[in-house]
Amino acid sequence: MTTLAPTLIESTLQPNITLVLVTVGLVAAGTALALDRSLVRVLLGMVLIGNGIAVLYLVVSGRAGRAPFVGEDPATISDPLPQAMVLTAIVISLATIGFLLAMSYRLWQISGTDDVPDDAEDARIQRLAIEDQTSSTYDPSEESTTTSDELADGDGSPRRP
């Protein structure tokens, strides 16, 4: 590795522009999706970000070369280390996607929607708004979906006025 390192650094100084653009596109699209309220869209966003990062590792591995088998000339092969890393990352993201899919299905089973719920503080502020005075940004048609069991109500639903 020590003999490889300097050439590697040199080749990453001239990255493949297509790969960089693909990375940027995937991560940007993924971030936009991940900001959505629906868990399935968040999941799709995470998939795109993960794939974007996988492409980023191709940029990092420098100039493309032959498949890195034992016995090949080290000067002609592509750097195997980022490939090993990205393989691990891909396996992990596969498992994560499976878990998130199961979780959004369960969320849909429970609440009939896969929207990510309000957090507890939002719900509390909303309740204060109902009880005291309504702030200018308060929209009474939106009901809180939090299920925190520790708010003063304890039953997880906002107190009716």
Partner: protein, 541 residues
Amino acid sequence: MNPTDVTVTDLVPMPVLLPLLGAALTLAFRRSPRLQRGVSIAVLAAVVAVAVILVWQTDVNGPQVLWLGAWQEPLGISLVADRLSALMLLVSAIVTLLVLVFAIGQGQADSDDETESETPLTIFHPTYLVLAAGVSNAFLAGDLFNLFVGFEILLFSSYVLITLGGAAARIHAGTTYVVVSLLSSALFLVGIAAVYAATGTVNLAQLAIRIGDLSPGVALVLQLSLLTAFAIKAAVFPMSAWLPDSYPTAPAPVTAVFAGLLTKVGVYAIIRTQTLLFPDSPLQGLLMWAALLTMVIGILGAVSQSGLKRILSFTLVSHIGYMIFGIALATPEGTAGAIFYVAHHITIQTALFLITGLVERLGGTTSLDRLGGLAVASPVLATLFFVSAMNLSGIPPLSGFLAKVGLLDAGISVGTPLAWLLVVGGIVTSLLTLYALAKVWSQAFWRTLADAPRSTEMAAALQDGTLDVEPATDPASAVLVDASPRALPRTMLGATAAMTLVGLLITVVAGPLFAYTQRAASDLMSRDPYITSVLPVEVRR
């Protein structure tokens, strides 16, 4: 071959391997809860023993390094146990063992009175052991990518544990947690890619040498991307909002182990990378501000809460600020104080969350509006809470006080205006912690139940059958409107008492422990012991 040579380095991977083996066994024995319990306890007890030996050996003989897979040296995966890693391993092993005992007690108690078990044993044991393996792997990792894998192992088991049972509240809380964790993992991966592109290695010891040769701008980008990823995991303000929303809904033992360990793995990663990779950090000021805001905003959150679990979650965030304070000082004293604080805080925060689990069992809720009279109901529990609360808020002569004094001392000896500001912030935070926990004490333990604002209304509604409180979706809180409090199971109380005692023990051994953390910190600061023991001479460049 000399047998002593074999044992010490061969012990290094054991904290990872044993729990993984145990996870496989408990999965195979899923029809026999008794065997599962035996295997889990045996495995985690063995890890404690291994960690004790590692602490002793690293203190005497320096860092222990094991290269896995017989690759050429800087290329393979190294596991490194130095003083810092070994101490973290020991504390985390003790915590995981005691929390496991608590969880077993809870599982047995729940199956006795035929309510739905809060910790389904078949899934709980393997997942919990994998979590322990992930935590150990993160502490032992000698390269950034293995650190990432350790994080992923522990995060993945934490996803399963935090949504255990699949009840609505847990799925909702889990959503935030999983998405935030995924994002931080993605950032970490980008950081590793950048590190590899700039230096051609991910081995920490090699990076320590090569990052020094990089231009300051590139090094700053690497440092910022790694710091951001770790700060999300450690719940440093402004990346801390996810924690109080996700931890409180998990089962009591799960919350306890998460609160004790998971954020501290992030803190460990920050300590490791800051000291080893970026010793001349230009970001000290930034870290100090982050530490100050984490402390103050976290504790203000705790003061405003009315639920015990949320109060504790906010104090957890707040006290992460103390550790960041110690790291940001970047002096041996500051780092030593931070390491001591981590050890203290892991035990005490776990103890407090275990006590909360017992409070929930005894009083049926953790909402302070509906609790009261617990000091009469269970004097033992009240004593445990009182001692732990005083310990966390830093009342002399407990370890919380000693840890804070160590940090404040380090801050004063640095003496810049910002350091003084942090010292003041630390004292204010400590006082506010005392205020928040004293409020819990006077409301939940000291007053009579009749004084609790919402207890009478509940009781009345119960009597004439017009309870307008909808039944909680969570089976754990569904039993809460019990007229007669249940007796506390002895195993759970014992485990909690043991956890509190470990907290007190840190006070007793504070002298030697502080000396140990100072040696660990001077190792970290000089960096040589780590680098020379990991790298063979010919690749040391």
